[in-house]
Symmetry: C2
Subunit: 218 residues, 2 copies
């Protein structure tokens, strides 16, 4: 690999004319980050695709919700929310799962040390980037986790909504396999209310309907 | 499904208070679009993951390149390029593959009617959305295809770079399986030069190195 050495000596020679030694190290880190994040495609979530053929991975989930930023923008609680920032938050927010894995939201055991595992992952993964970019990516992730800004609240709403739709529109297959009840789902979906109240009303009605149809325990 | 009827009569009753009849139809179309685009996760590309375990799908590819907008922004030819627009273009650009499939870039047969197939797909898929959003999405796709703006040029550069990196860093497995030569790859990678000249220099040096290492025919 042209990017393997630490001192940069095997970097393509023809780039020497257009790139300084400092930039060379910077560029190597960016390319290595590009290669590293490919691993998010191997992190499987509990959610299944709508055709029920397989579990969803975290990279395609991130794409789905980043696009939903545009599709559902009019339902964001704050009409002045910065959609570009929401999109960036969502593209970045699951990268820590490369090390920490996806923790099922109703797995109380796994959730006990989730924060510690994810922080450790963030420390490693974002710091593969040059320092300024590492800081930017880390801020986006911290913002998502803290849920204090309009942008992170809308982002969290979309992150909860998409797997919920998959669960409902596959007749609650994953809910049933894991004996999930409506109170658990309602609690889990509160961020939808915080970030997009109209969508919460919709979610709430589907939960009630799911109980009626037997997708979910009462 | 609560969203199945065309006249909207089975829409959740509690939403009647917060949503007008017109908005109801609009919201249904948005949710149905959310469900439809899940199918992009089933569209397989020629590219393989870096661990060579399987082919990549178009949804996770879209995520990877949308995130690369940020990682590699300093190499965009136009320093004033609108990164939000590039990101939107890349999140949307492959949706037409839900109907048209992914056409291998060196498949001359498949490429003959590619434009016709993709236009037909765009007409159907984007028009699932409410008219104003359908127009917005279509504009993003048209812009990507026409390659006239700084944003679409940078977007096209990233769309070509990522699978190229996968090919090079898997020792050209897919190139070899398909008897691809360096002239074909160089021609295919020209959009990288148009949208991000520094990245093109890097790509160009990797192509030469790939020939030397036997990943690619001369």
């Amino acid at each position: 690999m042209l990017l393997k050495s630490n001192d940069g000596n095997d970097f393509p020679i023809e780039l020497e004319d257009v790139i300084s030694p400092d930039q060379k190290v910077r560029f190597r880190r960016q390319i290595e980050f590009m290669l590293e994040i490919d691993k998010l495609k191997k992190v499987l979530r509990k959610t299944i695709l709508l055709d029920r053929s397989r579990r969803e991975n975290s990279a395609e989930h991130s794409w789905h919700i980043a696009l939903s930023v545009l599709i559902l923008s009019e339902y964001a609680k704050d009409p002045d929310v910065d959609l570009f920032r929401v999109m960036k938050i969502l593209l970045v927010h699951d990268l820590i799962e490369i090390d920490a894995g996806d923790t099922y939201c109703y797995d109380d055991q796994g959730r006990r040390d989730q924060a510690r595992r994810e922080k450790k992952a963030a420390d490693r993964i974002f710091n593969l980037l040059p320092a300024d970019q590492a800081a930017t990516f880390r801020e986006l992730w911290d913002e998502f986790e803290e849920k204090k800004t309009s942008e992170s609240r809308y982002a969290n709403a979309l992150d909860r909504l998409q797997p919920f739709l998959h669960n409902y529109f596959t007749d609650g297959q994953i809910w049933q396999e894991n004996n999930i009840n409506s109170a658990q789902v309602k609690a889990r979906m509160q961020p939808v209310n915080d970030g997009a109240p109209m969508l919460w009303k919709y979610v709430s009605s589907l939960i009630d309907d799911g109980v009626k149809k037997g997708f979910l325990a009462e």
